[in-house]
């Protein structure tokens, strides 16, 4: 197991480096002026450009630029927003909020998708199954921004059940609706995978062996089948995490949540390219780390993947 974790870590590092390199290239190595808009409507003064060139090493060869970038990234020197705030400060303030939102969303997803998905898998073609399948397809097809502001409008404004926008402190209770909105599209996929895994697994030979040992059906399904279902489900969760992160930009924007997504949303609106690029890069790094962790947990659950 440790060997697997070690190997995975080793594989992870080049991917991390490559991904950050790509992000860097997308901003600095492509045609375009990365400082556009920094100085208001006019082009920046020569002094400013000179200072920036010095700071980011823009007159050095590309490789050196990249290394400078990498060094900055690793030391947490992420530059500043157009209004002069340190991006690293902004992130450290915003991250806990987004983290809470993400966790609540994942909990909602897992609880709902697991209960409905597993139940549908056990009782296929029942009323729950058909309804769930139908509903999940529709929910999956609705773009997240539509769901977000419809929810905001209907539940927040019209019915007044929740506050339409989240207060700056972002207490957990107010995060539930946005988290649910975030969860919806992903929940559909998770539910279907769980249903498929359960339905397929019910016919497995190893369940027959478990029954031949005289175990109660609750143990046969609850222990023997479930363990086999968990690994693919977790895998899906990890893959869909990307969608979750992308969705936070929109959901936090609409609900005015001061998390990482919200900052990115505002930066996009304000056309602060560099801020956007830097913050998204951080999000991507975060996503890679989470994926690594999920992979390792999956290998713990399904030993067959350890030898891959």
């Amino acid at each position: 197991m440790l060997k697997f974790a070690g190997r995975r870590l080793l594989q992870f590092i080049p991917v991390l480096i490559g991904a950050t390199a790509i992000c860097w290239a997308l901003v600095w190595a492509l045609p375009g002026d990365p400082f556009r808009g920094r100085c208001g409507q006019v082009a920046c003064s020569d002094q400013y450009v000179a200072a920036m060139t010095q700071k980011y090493g823009l007159d050095r060869p590309l490789v050196v630029q990249y290394l400078v970038y990498l060094k900055n990234l690793l030391t947490g020197n992420l530059g500043q927003t157009f209004s002069g705030q340190d991006i690293s400060d902004v992130i450290s303030r915003a991250l806990p909020v987004t983290a809470r939102l993400a966790i609540i969303s994942i909990v909602i997803q897992v609880v709902l998708a697991a209960s409905i998905g597993i139940y549908s898998g056990l009782k296929q073609n029942g009323i729950v199954d058909v309804t769930a399948l139908f509903t999940s397809l529709i929910l999956f097809s609705l773009p997240i921004f539509v769901v977000a502001f419809v929810a905001q409008y209907v539940l927040g404004v019209k019915l007044g059940w929740v506050k339409p926008t989240v207060s700056p402190a972002a207490p957990t209770s107010e995060l539930i609706l946005p988290a649910a909105v975030l969860a919806i599209g992903i929940m559909a996929t998770l539910m279907r995978i769980l249903r498929a895994s359960v339905a397929e697994g019910l016919h497995s030979d190893y369940l027959r062996t478990a029954r031949s040992k005289g175990f109660k059906e609750s143990r046969v399904v609850g222990v023997h089948l479930m363990r086999n279902v968990m690994a693919p489900a977790l895998n899906v969760l990890g893959l869909e995490f990307a969608a979750l992160l992308g969705g936070t930009v929109i959901v936090e924007g609409i609900f005015n949540i001061k998390g990482v997504g919200g900052v990115i949303y505002k930066a996009i609106q304000d056309r602060e390219q560099l801020t956007v690029a830097t913050m998204v890069t951080v999000v991507i790094i975060f996503y890679l780390v989470i994926n690594l962790i999920v992979d390792i947990i999956c290998a713990m659950l399904d030993p067959r993947s350890r030898d891959v």
Binding site: P14, A19, P34, F140, V146, G246
Partner: protein, 322 residues
């Protein structure tokens, strides 16, 4: 924004083991030949009868026509507005009502189909072609080339294409960038970050079927390498890719809509449903129809592709055939 990467996993589950048994005689090898085409005939027969598939494909067809020739569905200029009609509700004059600028929402919705469908189709075809190309090279040549391609693929996979699109579009485009450029940039970004998952599926399918008995038998009978590749390996590999691709179209369309919503995608004079939703947001309370109809169309478009993909997956699933 949705990233149906999980569907890749589902597709991988599907292409478990080749359907064909081991063959010995030439006659059987030839029979296998027709059987691999028979997969498609079988699938088509199943699909023809599924109402959901027929409906969703019809919807896609209608939307495609709408995208290519919007004037067939709506007369008038989507960008010309009469302020006198500002925010008027649906009526015979304008079936979907009018937006703040007095523009006919119905006309704009029809013209908006182009953006979504262009992105959807272009990205799907692009990722599929490039993915198949690199995937088969990687699988067939193996060795260093395989490693390099796989490593690069891993790095690109690590970056969700929606997030990459945000970086690229915000860096490279402004309000002044011509729409066609924006569109190309968006499509290229999605293709660049989307092909690795297709390539991965193709590569593993090729590797699995390459060692399958019937392929080895074919080679033993003296069938040339390329014949083996085209008649035996590729047909088997294409179906999971087809399934995977159709399932991702919805994601591409949603991504385009979301980016337009954020203000990063297409801007006037091009019409995009996402942009319409974003424009209409302030009028949610007073004139919800400005938002409602583009949202409905978005949902229907994505749903149509998702349903068609589901039907395709079920039809191509070897378990469904006798």
């Amino acid at each position: 924004m949705s990233e149906p990467l999980a569907d890749e996993m589902a597709a991988e589950v599907e292409q478990d083991s080749p359907v064909h048994p081991a063959t010995v005689s030439r006659a059987e090898a030839e029979a296998n030949d027709t059987r691999s085409h028979g997969v498609w005939i079988d699938a088509w027969r199943i699909l023809r009868r599924k109402p959901l598939f027929v409906i969703s494909v019809s919807v896609i067809a209608i939307l495609t026509v709408m995208a290519i020739a919007p004037w067939l569905f709506a007369s008038g200029d989507p960008n010309k507005g009469d302020l006198a009609y500002s925010l008027k509700p649906p009526s015979p004059a304008g079936w979907f009502g009018f937006d703040i600028n007095g523009r006919n929402v119905y006309t704009r919705v029809i013209y908006g189909a182009r953006a979504s469908l262009t992105v959807g189709f272009a990205c799907t075809i692009g990722t599929a072609l490039i993915g198949i190309f690199f995937g088969s090279i990687a699988a067939y040549t193996g060795g260093a080339t395989d490693s390099v391609i796989s490593r690069i693929g891993d790095m690109l996979l690590g970056i969700p294409f929606a997030l990459a699109a945000i970086i690229v579009l915000s860096t490279l485009t402004t309000f002044d960038t011509p729409n066609w450029q924006v569109e190309i940039i968006l499509i290229m970004t999605i293709i660049v970050f989307g092909w690795p998952s297709i390539a991965r599926v193709l590569r593993s399918t090729v590797l699995v079927t390459r060692n399958a008995d019937y392929v080895v038998a074919g080679q033993a009978l003296g069938l040339s390498g390329s014949r083996v590749l085209f008649r035996h390996i590729l047909p088997n590999a294409v179906s999971p890719i087809l399934v995977l691709s159709t399932m991702r179209v919805g994601g591409y369309i949603a991504t385009e809509a979301s980016l337009s919503y954020l203000g990063l995608g297409l801007h006037p004079p091009a019409v995009s449903w996402g942009q319409m939703v974003s424009d209409g947001q302030p009028y949610l309370r007073t004139a919800f129809y400005v938002l409602l109809f583009p949202s409905i169309f978005l949902a229907i478009t994505i749903l149509a592709f998702v349903l068609a993909g589901e039907a395709l997956r079920e039809a191509l699933d070897p378990a469904n055939r006798k």
